[in-house]
Symmetry: C2
Subunit: 514 residues, 2 copies
């Protein structure tokens, strides 16, 4: 049944009705309670509608972390339109390709990003965008348009399956695809976060991760607003600044990727640095990549517990590890979240229909597949990619992992990452985890490369610790003491740094095709 | 899409997986953590399945408040079957009629209620029930069956729209109808309760209301289990016992009807009564009928806040009044809950399709209608009653109310209660509220009766205060000073007590047809 209650855009309206004076969203220059936030969403909805945005239309967003970001997401939803967050750190040709892909009816951007947008729109690819709105600047066109509009408080009736957002995946495979996310997915993702975080209306969540990624938007911001809590947006991550704001805003939790946590820890332990009052923090949340157990212990030494999560844009958070299991289950990403049905399936059975898929035994690696209300509808205008990824409701995550006897999941890599050497499956994640313990190695990324004899062999890209030099012979010998011979990389290449996504994942496609 | 994640029966399984050692359900003789509760649900599912229960079958329940009650609800759901709670206080012929109506494949009862069940099944009406299971007794057949079963942990794939429960409405109209409730409704009702109660896994909720009513089951117990909290079942309401258990179990909230709260207050203030430690209580929750504002003030004097709610079996809780508004908005039932779209519609427009319904102005009474995921599918096997009640997704509650300017709802009676005297609508609830302030009157119920001149006139049934006597002439004169003449009852009848439902509502049909 189609009704406004299924529309995620109604969340803010409902909160405004039942607790309008509670804080909702704040950024560097603005503090909005739910009533004010609701009114701004309603004004923006009126502006977008007058600009020609109709149900099903796309509304592209090229903004930094500011209230206008969340206003655009909710205003688009209220119109029954589809918000499309675009990565503001992309190059102009990349933005142009994504605009060509989603063909938006409107684009909301901000003054400091206008050079990028203008460049993207200058080429032939992006196509014309009927309606543009620019925040920031002087005068501020976005603010002027809102001030002049009569708020449109009505919320479009939708079905739970109607699309609400297109999020382009960050692209560890190199080809961004638009995950088409329905209202239903955003609700159930919020519920999973609510249960795992123990979210309530008293929470105040700092978001220093960009809102154009699933982590900042779908895992941190939207669930907090669903629960009636407050989101504090930070435009740029700076560790000392984060700790200051935690104290000043009485933040109850925030999320970050492991490299950010390293910087946060260093800032906290910097000699002479002010000691912030962190007593409002209930926990920290790490996702995007594995966080080393020493870092968790270090935070615990400061009285800060670390929860961990694992997911992807297509499904949001899928597994979660509570702080109490952080040490005992180190290396695991936790157990499946509340509203998700997760299986680990033998990869050699995946070519058949789901009914024939076989569950891997505990300890046996397989592909993680998921079914239930947190999955995307498919990839925007890519029926082949959709058909490859979703079968009879089961979504193939492309992540390889295993269950232990207690139901905790450990990742062993990406399915694409798996290579086959002499008929044996090799999971680079396992090889990397082993070599990260070698005293000369700071970071390592392993990929499979063609080999006349073995089909494929491993190639390791290595970032050495300061003062160390590359000794491939020693590394191979050291590896063979710890791993099956077929898993030990055939060659080692020293590099300055590994190519990583903004959320910290190694971009294997850039190693394979440097 | 059909999947186990949409099945309410999965809730306990998920909780067992992610926090199995937390307390789930307890009663007079048993304390179960989520793992143990999950195992018992899975064993019962195996027993019922072996007994022939298939998806879509009804599983009738005639039990008092004990863990077996909730086990049966979840076990039936896991099989894709439909639990049917029956009022254990009904007479045998009434039980027989309900059994004939729902034609269950199985019935779970308990030893002390077996005489009632046997009598109901002895008549020709109920029909044969293929599988019976009796809890309690010595030996305990229910426990023996569970012990012998191999747990069936699998949860049936369902769609959100698949039926999960039939609850017979308590019948202020006199004709019980089975509200067919889908998994979707139970989930969204739990979400509404979660938001309003601020429910979390730390809650410990006492349930002294019978589980065969929506209040005890759908509003208190199921949402608590969804949130991972603990339900403490009390078989029989006794006010001193409730306060003792609040202290002993560190109860965080409980729900009751106003008459129970009167008894609870008297027990608390009884000279010489022990003073329980009530510091664990976050609030009290009152629903079922209006609670007098003096009683709220009296509880506040003991440091206890009172939240209030309004709803019905067909939709569960629809409006909620926070404790902070209890005095300022006294007489209101609060504002619509999070996941519900509620309108108040002019009754003279309701004969047309929903598109033509007109919203009443603030302060103007109309019928409360609701749309969204909390509504029932319809009445079990009563297409005419369903078509009368639900139109284009809008459910007519039959309750009359008005919005104020802040969006708070005040009830003015039942639609059936409205009578028309000389062309004017009269809402008995308004008349009753006025006359309750007369010094001689303790309770009053007003109904319309046929009248040759006016079409209908009011007849008041009055319970007098001790030592007072009925003086109709004085009452009419007193009434005319406060109400329009057409609203003043034409005659007054003194009675010992008013017929009420178990949740405290006056049974108007019994006054109309004594």
């Amino acid at each position: 049944m189609r009704c406004p209650t299924h529309n995620v855009g109604a969340w803010v309206a409902r909160r405004a009705a039942i607790g309008g004076d509670r804080p909702a969203v704040s950024d560097a220059s603005r503090r909005l309670d739910y009533r004010a936030f609701d009114e701004r969403c309603a004004r923006l909805a009126a502006v977008l509608r007058a600009g020609g945005v109709a149900p099903g239309d796309r509304v592209a967003i090229v903004l930094g972390n500011r209230t206008a970001y969340l206003e655009t997401v909710f205003a688009a939803a209220r119109l029954g339109a589809i918000a499309v967050p675009l990565n503001a750190r992309l190059a102009a040709p990349e933005i142009a390709r994504l605009l060509a892909d989603c063909a938006p009816a409107a684009l909301v951007s901000e003054d400091v990003l206008e050079p990028l947008v203008t460049k993207a729109l200058a080429g032939p690819e992006a196509g014309a965008i009927p309606f543009r709105l620019v925040a920031g600047g002087d005068p501020d066109a976005y603010e002027a348009a809102l001030a002049a509009a009569k708020p449109a408080y009505e919320v479009a009736a939708v079905s739970p399956e109607d699309p609400m957002m297109i999020m382009y995946t960050s692209g560890t495979t190199g080809v961004p695809k638009g995950a088409l996310l329905p209202h239903r997915k955003t609700l159930f993702n919020a519920l999973n976060a609510l249960h795992f975080f123990g979210l309530g209306s008293g929470d105040r969540v700092l978001v220093a991760l960009p809102l154009f990624h699933s982590f900042g938007l779908a895992i941190l911001s939207l669930p907090t607003l669903y629960a009636g809590g407050a989101v504090h947006l930070v435009p740029r991550f700076e560790p000392h600044d984060v700790w200051r704001r935690v104290e000043a805003e009485r933040i109850t939790f925030f999320g970050a990727v492991p490299t950010m946590f390293r910087a946060l820890l260093e800032a906290l332990e910097e000699p002479g640095a002010p000691r912030p009052d962190l007593s409002s923090l209930r926990f920290l949340f790490s996702a995007g990549a594995a966080i080393p157990v020493e870092r968790i212990r270090a935070f615990e030494g400061h009285g800060l517990l670390v929860k961990q999560g694992f997911g992807q844009t297509e499904t949001s958070i899928l597994c979660a590890l509570d702080a109490r299991d952080a040490i005992r289950k180190a290396g695991s990403v936790g157990r499946p979240v509340f509203h998700a049905e997760l299986r680990i399936v033998r990869t050699d059975t995946l070519s058949g229909p789901p009914a024939t898929w076989q569950d891997a035994d505990p300890g046996e690696a397989g592909e993680i597949v998921v079914r239930g209300p947190v999955t995307m509808l498919g990839y925007w205008r890519r029926p082949e990619a959709t058909a490859e990824t979703i079968r009879d409701g089961w979504l193939r995550t492309g992540d390889l992992g295993s269950f232990d006897e207690e139901g905790f999941v450990t990742l062993v890599g990406r399915a694409r990452d798996l290579y086959i050497s002499g008929g044996e499956n090799v999971y680079p994640a396992e090889v990397e985890a082993t070599f990260e313990q070698h005293p000369a190695i700071r970071e390592i990324g392993v990929v499979g490369v063609p080999d006349a004899r073995w089909g494929e062999v491993g190639r390791a890209y290595v970032v050495l610790r300061a003062g160390e030099r590359l000794d491939p012979e020693d590394l191979r010998r050291w590896g063979r003491e710890r791993l099956a011979a077929f898993k030990v990389p055939a060659d080692f290449v020293a590099v300055e740094a590994l190519p990583r996504t903004e959320t910290g994942k190694i971009q294997k496609h850039r190693l394979r095709d440097p």
